[in-house]
């Protein structure tokens, strides 16, 4: 993800309506690139290209 975490993280938190302290937001900004990089590896798995997600949905309760 190319967006600047220092911009993106506070924006996402605002959108979510949650208000951490400045220190906590700074920690989230610091953590963000590592998580984003780990998530990117999930898109690099060839076998996942046409795989279905393991989600639970049933037409009846």
């Amino acid at each position: 993800m190319d967006a600047d975490p220092a911009v993106l993280v506070p924006a996402l938190l605002r959108a979510a309506g949650i208000s951490p302290s400045e220190e906590e937001v700074a920690a989230m900004i610091a953590d963000f690139p590592g998580r984003a990089a780990a998530i990117e590896t999930l898109y690099a798995i060839p076998e996942a290209r046409y795989e279905e997600p393991d989600l639970v949905f049933r037409a009846t309760l």
Binding site: A16, G17, I18, R35, A38, L42, P53
Partner: protein
């Protein structure tokens, strides 16, 4: 009070003890050490002793409900019980949530004659790290109270190790049964996803959560699972299939069993040097029990671990968002930071994680065509020091979240100690719904070793049952 459930059940039937004596001894240990170890959030002395007296009367009258009859057990305080409030060790959880009464797992234990002694400490909402700023006990490791007992099923782990009950329930979303099991030197099983219903349990990650047994031995976990397993339609992910016989296969032999071993030594910066030798010795015992051992490499290790962390955060966030908005500072710092990570994960990435889980299931099934069981260390090290504890270090040290992505049954059994005297665990994993093979391997290992019977020095002279 350091009996296994199996030994206590035999002693009850031999007239060598009573359920009331077992329960009183368990509470005596708690009276002596709970102030230091932070095991209980609430105790049910009156109802437990009444249940124990009933069990004694029933057994005397020839009414035998099975091996849990009259056995004192602790329940992690994110699981509802008839006796009182469930807190999830949080100021946030609505105190009326637990008014529904016994969760199915608790009802099943009670129907089997178990004595419910109380509710045990947890990380808040089963995630995060201990928070000294909140009005809840800090769980400490009975092997060294300056160290973490593991979490989030901290109280059940520490309580079994200390002898405050003979077994109990934990929950496991990324390792929260196996982590305190390894740190506290006891046995803990995360069975196949869906095998045990989780209705009546505060959710963390809906598609990763498990409720499972924690006790001294694999045989004890087997008798508990036999009671816990089975379909309940109130849990959408509960699986409707017959429950296997988990105890008849506890023969002590692994003849003909193929075990794949992945030491995972380079997967954590926190790996202690002695881990390799301790694991080698444990694997040698499996070989001595008759197993054929081959090296394996877990497929997509980092990626599947990521899918657990991403999926758990996203699913937990959906549950917590209203309270995170309204009551941010009522949450503990570790919990609110871990759960709010879900706000930063795009929906598409969550779905991609679920696609990768499916790929992982195919790859691990291919590996399980070559071996019957897979063995790894449960964790890279012993319990971390409480004063330096971080959530990142916990995640880095654990080899458990991988299996929550896949759903396979995975059990931690004690396999030795670090040079600092802290327990280490071996993780034994089987094919989906093959808990019987996992338990049989753990039992065979424990017939050749006595790590699971070791008692922390702190409580070694506690009142005996």
């Amino acid at each position: 009070m350091h009996l296994t459930i199996t030994d206590a059940a035999a002693a009850l039937r031999a007239g060598k003890t009573t359920s009331v004596e077992l329960t009183q001894a368990a509470y005596a240990v708690a009276d002596a050490y709970d102030g230091e170890l932070g095991v209980y959030l609430s105790r049910f002395d009156e109802t437990a002793l009444a249940a124990a007296a009933t069990a004694d009367a029933e057994l005397a009258a020839g009414i035998d409900k099975g091996p849990l009859h009259g056995i004192p057990l602790g329940i992690k305080d994110i699981i509802a019980t008839d006796e009182g409030i469930t807190t999830a060790q949080s100021l946030v959880l609505d105190r009326s949530w637990g008014d529904q009464g016994d969760a199915p797992v608790v009802a099943r234990l009670r129907a089997a004659g178990a004595v419910i002694t109380g509710k045990t400490s947890t990380m808040e909402y089963a995630i995060g790290i201990p928070d000294p700023e909140k009005p809840f006990p800090i769980p400490r490791n009975p092997w060294n109270p300056e160290h973490y007992p593991g979490g989030s099923s901290s109280g059940t782990g520490g309580g079994v190790a200390a002898g405050m009950f003979l077994g109990g329930l934990g929950t496991d979303t990324g390792g929260s049964i196996r982590f305190p099991a390894t740190n506290c030197g006891i046995t803990g099983l995360k069975q196949t996803f869906g095998r045990v219903p989780k209705y009546g349990c505060v959710p963390l990650g809906y598609s990763y959560d498990h409720i499972g047994p924690m006790a001294r031995s694999a045989a004890d976990c087997a008798v508990m699972l036999a009671v816990l397993a089975g379909h309940d339609p109130r849990d959408a992910t509960s699986v409707d299939r017959p429950v296997d016989d988990y105890t008849s296969g506890l023969t002590g032999s692994l003849a003909g069993v193929r075990v794949g071993v992945d030491p995972l030594l380079d997967r954590s910066a926190l790996t202690v040097p002695e881990l390799a030798e301790v694991l080698d010795a444990a694997v040698a015992e499996l070989r001595a029990a008759g197993a054929t051992v081959v090296p394996v490499e877990l497929p997509l290790y980092a990626e599947l671990t990521t899918t657990t962390m991403v999926g758990m955060a996203a699913e937990a966030y959906a549950y917590h968002r209203p309270d995170l908005r309204a009551r941010w500072y009522d949450y503990g710092a570790g919990t609110r930071m871990a759960v709010s990570a879900g706000a930063l994960i795009p929906a598409g990435d969550y779905v991609q994680a679920q696609r990768v889980r499916r790929v992982g299931q195919r790859k691990i099934a291919e590996l399980f065509a070559e071996v019957d069981l897979i063995v790894t260390p449960t964790s890279a090290c012993g319990g971390l020091k409480l004063e330096k504890l971080t959530f990142d270090d916990i995640i880095d040290s654990l080899h458990t979240p991988y299996w929550n992505a896949l759903g396979n049954p995975a059990m931690s059994v004690p396999m030795g100690f670090t040079t600092d005297g802290l327990p280490l665990g071996m993780q034994i994993v089987g094919r989906p719904f093959d808990e019987a093979a996992v338990l049989a391997a753990g039992h065979a290992y424990q017939q050749h070793t006595s790590w699971h019977l070791r008692v922390p020095e702190l409580v070694a002279h506690a009142p005996a049952a």
